[in-house]
C-alpha cells in the first residue's frame, strides 16, 4: 500500500504540481488549503507525512506545527516538511525550534521536494 502525504497549501497550482510529481512517485496525495482547521484535518486523515506551508489563510503553519507537536498523539512524531516564501536564517531556525522535520524555501525544485519526502518517509 502506498504511503500518504497531505499537502497543506493555499496555492492550487503549487498543490497540483506537488501532487503530480509525488503521485508519479507512488505516493497517495491529498490536500487541504485552510489553516484554521488544518490540525483537525491532519489528525483525521493521519497521513504518513505532511507538507505544510507557513503562510496559510486563517492560521500560520508555525502555529499548526506547534499544536501538532504539543499533543501526545501521532502528530508529535509526524514527519513535517515546511514550505515558506521566507528563506531567512531566523525562519529556518524557528521552524527547527518548533519541530519541523525539514524546511524548504520557495521557489524550490520538484527534485528537492521528492528527495525530501523520500528521505523523511521511505515509500
Amino acid at each position: 500500500m502506498s504511503k500518504s502525504v497531505l499537502v497543506v497549501e493555499d496555492e492550487p497550482n503549487i498543490i497540483e504540481a506537488i501532487s503530480f510529481i509525488l503521485s508519479r512517485d507512488g505516493w497517495h496525495v491529498s490536500s487541504h488549503s485552510n489553516g484554521v482547521d488544518a490540525v483537525e484535518v491532519i489528525r483525521a486523515r493521519a497521513p504518513d507525512l505532511v507538507i505544510l506551508d507557513v503562510m496559510l489563510p486563517g492560521r500560520s503553519g508555525y502555529d499548526i506545527l506547534r499544536e501538532l507537536r504539543a499533543g501526545d498523539g501521532a502528530g508529535a512524531s509526524l514527519p513535517v516538511l515546511m514550505l515558506t516564501a521566507r528563506g531567512q536564517t531566523k525562519d529556518r531556525a524557528l521552524a527547527e525550534e518548533i519541530g519541523a522535520s525539514r524546511f524548504m524555501s520557495k521557489p524550490f525544485s520538484n527534485a528537492e521536494v521528492l528527495e525530501a519526502v523520500n528521505a523523511l518517509v521511505a515509500p
Binding site: 496555492e11 497550482n13 503549487i14 497540483e16 504540481a17 506537488i18 503530480f20 510529481i21 508519479r24 503562510m55 516564501a85 521566507r86 531566523k90 520557495k106 521557489p107 524550490f108 525544485s109 520538484n110 527534485a111
Partner: protein
C-alpha cells in the same frame, strides 16, 4: 599638552600662510612670540597643538585676530574625521595626530571624511529599508505573493520539461497553470514596483493613518500658527482641507482633527510667548517644573514644548525637542523624532526607553540621560511620565498613557550612561536583556 582654542584646527598651516604673506621669517616670529624657531616649525607643520596665550601672541605678532588662525573650514573636516573614527573604533585611528594627518595629507583626509559620511548615509538607508522590509505588512504580502507564483510556474515548467511522455491532458493543464500564474506574476510584480515607488513619491498611499497624521504634522514642523490663539473661525477645518491629499484616509483625518483640537486647547492655555518667557536659558528643560509653573500636568507641558518652533526655542538657547507618546500597551501613538534620535516607523520601540519605565511607575516623572546605541552613540536627556487618560471616574481603573520629551545631551557626558536602542532590528547592543529579535547590526569591536 597645550591648551586648544575653539576649532584648534590646522592652526599651524594658517600661521605659516600668514607669516609668508607678511614676509616674516620664522625665527623672527618665534622670537616675538617667545618660543624657539624649532618649536614654531613643529607648530607650523601641525605637529604641536597650540591655543590660549601662545595663540594670542602669535596672532598679535602676525597682526590678525586669533580666530583667523584657529577657525575655518578645516574644523568641519576634523569633526567629520573624528566622527568617522568614533564610528569605527576598532580601526584604532590615532586621534592625537588627527591635525597632523589633515595638515600633511589634506586630500586623503578629505577622502576619509567623505567615505565616512557616505558610509553613514548608506547605513541609515539600509536601516530604513530593512525596517520597512521586515515590518511593512503590505510589502511582505506582495513579496510572498510573487514568490508563491514563481514557485507554481517553476514547478509546472519543470514537469513539462522532465516528463517527455506527459499525457496531453496533463500537458494542457500545466500549460494553462503556467499561463495563469504568469499573468498573476506580472500583476504581482507591477503591484510590488508600485508599492516601492509609492514609498518614495507618495507615502500616504501605503502609510497607516498614524503615519499620515505624523507626515501632516511634520509638514508643518509640528507647529500651527493658525491655532496659536485657540481654535477659531474654522481654523482646524481649513488645515484639514488643505491637507486632504496628505490625510488620505478617513481615519487619518479623524485622528488629525483630534490632535489639532487638543493643540488649539493647549495653545490657548499655554501661549507661545508665555512658555518661551518661562524657559530657562540654555540649560536642560524640566517639563514637570515648567508644568507646575503653569499649573498643568507634565504630559501636557511636554506636548506643548514639542510644538514650539525652532526659532523661538533658539531665543533661549534651546535646541528642537523630540517627543514620543505611547498607550498602556506600549504602542507608540505619537512620534516627533530628532535628527539623531530616529523613532521606529514599523515595529516596536526599544523596551529600555524611559517611556516604558514610566508606565510601571504612573505619575512619577522620570528624568535621566541615555546614550543611543548605534552609529552616533548620541547622548540625550529624557523626561518621561505616565498619566491617566481623561478625568478620573469613580470605581473605574484609569487607563494610562506615557510621554517622553527628548532633548539633545552633550557628547562628553559619561560613557557609562544607560544605552538604549531605537528598535531591536537595527540595534547593535549585544547581550541586551530587552532584545526581542536578532539585529542586523553588529556591535562595533574595539
Amino acid at each position: 599638552m597645550a591648551e586648544r582654542g575653539r576649532g584648534g584646527s590646522l592652526t599651524g598651516t594658517r600661521i605659516r600662510e600668514r607669516r609668508n604673506l607678511v614676509g616674516m621669517r620664522q625665527a623672527e616670529l618665534a622670537r616675538r612670540a617667545g618660543i624657539s624657531a624649532s618649536y614654531l616649525n613643529l607648530i607650523e607643520h601641525n605637529r604641536r597643538r597650540i591655543g590660549g596665550k601662545l595663540l594670542l601672541s602669535l596672532a598679535e605678532a602676525l597682526g590678525v585676530e586669533p580666530s583667523a588662525l584657529s577657525e575655518g573650514a578645516e574644523a568641519a573636516l576634523l569633526a567629520q574625521l573624528r566622527q568617522a573614527a568614533a564610528d569605527r573604533p576598532e580601526a584604532g585611528a590615532d586621534l592625537e595626530r588627527i591635525e597632523e594627518f589633515v595638515g600633511r595629507f589634506p586630500g586623503w583626509a578629505q577622502l576619509v571624511a567623505q567615505q565616512g559620511q557616505r558610509l553613514g548615509a548608506l547605513q541609515q538607508a539600509v536601516e530604513a529599508l530593512t525596517d520597512r522590509l521586515t515590518h511593512d505588512p503590505h510589502l511582505a504580502a506582495s513579496l510572498h505573493e510573487v514568490l508563491s507564483t514563481v514557485t507554481a510556474i517553476h514547478a509546472s515548467a519543470e514537469i513539462l520539461v522532465a516528463e517527455k511522455e506527459l499525457e496531453p491532458e496533463w500537458r494542457d493543464r500545466f500549460n494553462r497553470n503556467i499561463r495563469e500564474e504568469s499573468a498573476r506574476l506580472a500583476e504581482g510584480a507591477r503591484r510590488l514596483v508600485e508599492e516601492l515607488d509609492e514609498g518614495e513619491t507618495s507615502e500616504a498611499a501605503i502609510a497607516s493613518p498614524q503615519d499620515q497624521v505624523e507626515g501632516f504634522l511634520s509638514d508643518h514642523g509640528f507647529h500651527f500658527p493658525a491655532l496659536e490663539g485657540g481654535a477659531e473661525d474654522g481654523a482646524v477645518e481649513a488645515l484639514l482641507s488643505a491637507a486632504a491629499e496628505r490625510l488620505g484616509s478617513g481615519a487619518a483625518r479623524l485622528m488629525a482633527r483630534r490632535v489639532l483640537d487638543r493643540y488649539a486647547r493647549e495653545a490657548a492655555a499655554l501661549p507661545v510667548s508665555a512658555v518661551i518667557e518661562a524657559l530657562p536659558e540654555g540649560v536642560v528643560l524640566d517639563p514637570a517644573a515648567l508644568g507646575a509653573h503653569f499649573g498643568v500636568d507634565a504630559g501636557r507641558m511636554m506636548r506643548r514644548l514639542a510644538t514650539l518652533p525652532a526659532d523661538r526655542l533658539a531665543e533661549k538657547g534651546q535646541a528642537p525637542l523630540g517627543l514620543v507618546a505611547c498607550d498602556a500597551s506600549g504602542t507608540l501613538t505619537f512620534r516627533k523624532p530628532l535628527d539623531r534620535f530616529p523613532l521606529p516607523r514599523f515595529g516596536a520601540a526599544c523596551p529600555l526607553w524611559p517611556l516604558f519605565q514610566a508606565l510601571s511607575r504612573p505619575m512619577m516623572p522620570i528624568a535621566g540621560k541615555i546614550r543611543l546605541a548605534g552609529r552616533s552613540e548620541g547622548v540625550f536627556v529624557t523626561h518621561a511620565i505616565a498619566q491617566p487618560v481623561g478625568a478620573p471616574v469613580a470605581n473605574r481603573d484609569p487607563t494610562f498613557e506615557a510621554h517622553m520629551l527628548i532633548q539633545p545631551g552633550r557628547a562628553e557626558d559619561p560613557a557609562d550612561l544607560p544605552r538604549v536602542g531605537v528598535t531591536c532590528r537595527i540595534c547593535p547592543k549585544a547581550d541586551c536583556r530587552g532584545r526581542r529579535e536578532p539585529s542586523i547590526m553588529a556591535e562595533s569591536g574595539g
